[in-house]
């Protein structure tokens, strides 16, 4: 191409990209750097170098317990969102359901719903009809938030799939269940994997709904970090956060290995 993009536009793009990357990465770098501080208080720049706060969080029942709760929660939430979200996506894309557009809007609404309002509502519902906050209540709350991601990623993959493959399976003798199991679901696999990744990360990271539905004594990791920060801000907070960051990066890498980033956007 000859003279397609003006130089000023190129320069502006470069500045924007640089700014975005800076604002994304600098806070993370600050947190990771402070986690190696030798000081008693959370400060930046860090003073000295030590791994004592990593030792601290590994030995702390508060942190390990919270991490275990968060992991269990994220696992349950991921499994449920996958199960429900895949079924919903298949129904929305392949089923001939009247009012599909309304249903799509409904299933994607948690994306735009203020979680704080949703959290209050959920707390009231569970307090009125159940025993109030519990692991189950929290899992239900998280599933509502993560479901749209699974529905979206699976629906996107399914929309790109050739519907005549399912018809071909019919003519080859596959009944409805065999078609789901051997044809539809395998074709959804990339979307399911991407959706699972989002669901796990969002649930593991979520703090607003967790705040309303907290069960005293078995809080999730984000909430533990938050209350620690409020009451005794030492570098263990940064260490725990760094572990979270590391875990996310690991997930992204695994995901990339399994799928290739392109397949998420295709």
């Amino acid at each position: 191409m000859v003279g397609g993009v003006p130089l000023a536009a190129k320069a502006a793009a470069a500045v924007l990209v640089a700014a975005c990357v800076t604002f994304m990465l600098v806070p993370l770098a600050v947190v990771v750097a402070s986690s190696f501080s030798a000081s008693e208080f959370l400060v930046f720049p860090p003073r000295g170098f030590s791994l004592r706060w990593y030792e601290e969080i590994l030995g702390s029942r508060e942190y390990t317990g919270a991490a275990w709760t968060s992991l269990r929660l994220a696992a349950v939430v991921t499994a449920l969102s996958l199960l429900i979200g895949t079924a919903v996506a298949i129904a929305l894309v392949r089923g001939r359901i009247p009012g599909t557009r309304t249903l799509v809007a409904l299933f994607l609404s948690p994306l735009v719903l203020p979680t704080i309002i949703f959290g209050i509502g959920l707390l009231m519902v569970f307090s009125h009809y159940g025993d109030g906050p519990s692991f189950t209540a929290l899992a239900v709350g998280h599933v509502v938030v993560t479901l749209p991601y699974v529905v979206r990623t699976v629906a996107a993959v399914l929309e790109g799939a050739d519907p005549s493959v399912e018809e071909a399976a019919r003519t080859m003798g596959a009944n409805a269940w065999q078609r789901y199991w051997h044809v539809v679901i395998p074709q959804c696999r990339a979307g399911m994997l991407a959706g699972a990744f989002f669901a796990f990360n969002i649930s593991f990271d979520e703090a607003v709904i967790a705040l309303f539905l907290r069960v005293p004594g078995s809080e999730t990791l984000p909430l533990t970090i938050y209350s620690k920060l409020e009451f005794s801000p030492d570098p263990s907070v940064a260490a725990a956060s760094s572990v979270l960051i590391g875990l996310t990066v690991l997930l992204v890498v695994l995901m990339e290995r399994a799928l290739g980033i392109q397949s998420l956007t295709r």
Binding site: S164, T171, M172
Partner: protein, 351 residues
């Protein structure tokens, strides 16, 4: 009793009538090509036979059994889709085994043997463990074909099987399809919009138009004796001329192209005198530089050289005719000059 019997099939999509009462008998072992322009209902007809569309009225019978209300997965037919519809997450061998697994045909070992047989049949011996996306278009087409016939279907349905191939490959595959059909003798319905494909592959051509069957016959019969102007035009782009036709003295008929220009033609099946349509095939006309007995005078228009043959426009008594002639016959003739046209007896047809 015909192997496939279609009786009064109708299908509507909203306001549009895709099938307007189609009845058709196809004998066992015959390869029938359903030919027609896009939107004529040919694919809908195939899908009704497959069970993928439910007809609004009419019956579908295969080997005497009424399968109109049977689900597609229980019909025991093999269908090849225009997009090939290979299972993208399965290898070639797994794709081929899929119909055998679903229909529980044979044990694992027998299925593996059958897969090998099918791979051999379509000459894909080394491709068993490839995924569809690793194959060329032509190879995917062969896998789709092998998969459609591996379970020994009662009827083979092919929806535009060659339309996604490039021209040369399509010609090769036409020959292979003929060979395959000779070998297996599966009763086959093939849908195509390509008249040349239909003529070269089929035992029987079913010409469709606007949801109905326009004409049925062998390729030669339907080409040489088109029943309607549409059939003449669709198969081989004929010249259609509005003429005045009436019986001549001493047998035979005469058509008048323009005042003073009349020609003998053979007697039509339909003996209506007056305004009729005369069909002249492009390749039947002989163009000559000098006058001959029985020839008519015409003016040569544009000539397009295309190798062995030339396409030319000839003006005859106010009519514009398209002609395809051997290049040698037109050598040295410039456009605008006077030429003489002749055609073999019986090749000018009154519709």
């Amino acid at each position: 009793m015909a192997h496939i019997e279609l009786v009064g099939l109708e299908k509507r999509f909203g306001e549009a009538r895709a099938l307007a009462g189609v009845s058709l008998d196809i004998e066992e072992g015959v390869l029938a090509a359903i030919l027609g322009p896009s939107g004529c209902g040919k694919t809908t007809l195939l899908r009704v036979v497959a069970g993928l569309e439910r007809p609004g009225a009419g019956r579908v019978r295969v080997a005497g059994e009424d399968i109109t209300d049977l689900a597609p997965e229980r019909r025991g037919l093999g269908m090849m889709f225009q997009s090939y519809a290979l299972l993208p997450h399965m290898t070639v061998a797994e794709n081929l085994r899929f119909p055998l697994r679903m229909q529980r045909l044979g044990d694992r070992r027998q299925q593996a043997e059958k897969v090998d047989w099918a791979l051999e049949l379509v000459q894909l011996g080394g491709m068993a463990s490839r995924y569809p996306r690793q194959l060329s278009g032509g190879q995917q087409q062969r896998v789709a074909l092998a998969r459609a016939l591996i379970a020994g279907p009662r009827v083979l349905l092919l929806d535009e099987p060659l339309s996604n191939l490039d021209a040369q490959l399509r010609k090769d595959m036409q020959l292979e399809l003929i060979e395959l059909h000779r070998q297996l003798r599966l009763t086959t319905l093939l849908v195509t919009h390509d008249q040349e494909e239909a003529l070269s592959l089929a035992d029987v051509v079913v010409l469709m138009r606007a949801g109905g069957v326009e004409q049925t016959g062998t390729p030669r019969a339907i080409y040489e004796q088109p029943a309607t102007p549409f059939a003449a035009e669709f198969l081989g782009a004929a010249n259609l001329l509005e003429v005045d036709a009436r019986p001549a003295e001493g047998g035979g008929w005469r058509v008048t192209l323009a005042p003073g220009v009349s020609l003998p033609v053979s007697a039509p099946a339909d003996p209506r005198a007056g305004k009729r349509t005369l069909m002249l095939r492009q390749e039947d006309m002989v163009v000559m530089a000098g006058p001959v007995a029985g020839g008519v005078e015409a003016e040569l228009g544009t000539v397009a050289f295309q190798g062995a043959t030339c396409r030319a426009v000839v003006r005859l008594a106010g009519h514009r005719l398209r002609v395809v002639a051997p290049s040698a016959a037109l050598a040295g003739l410039e456009s605008g000059r006077r030429v003489y046209l002749e055609w073999p007896e019986g090749r000018a047809l009154l519709l």
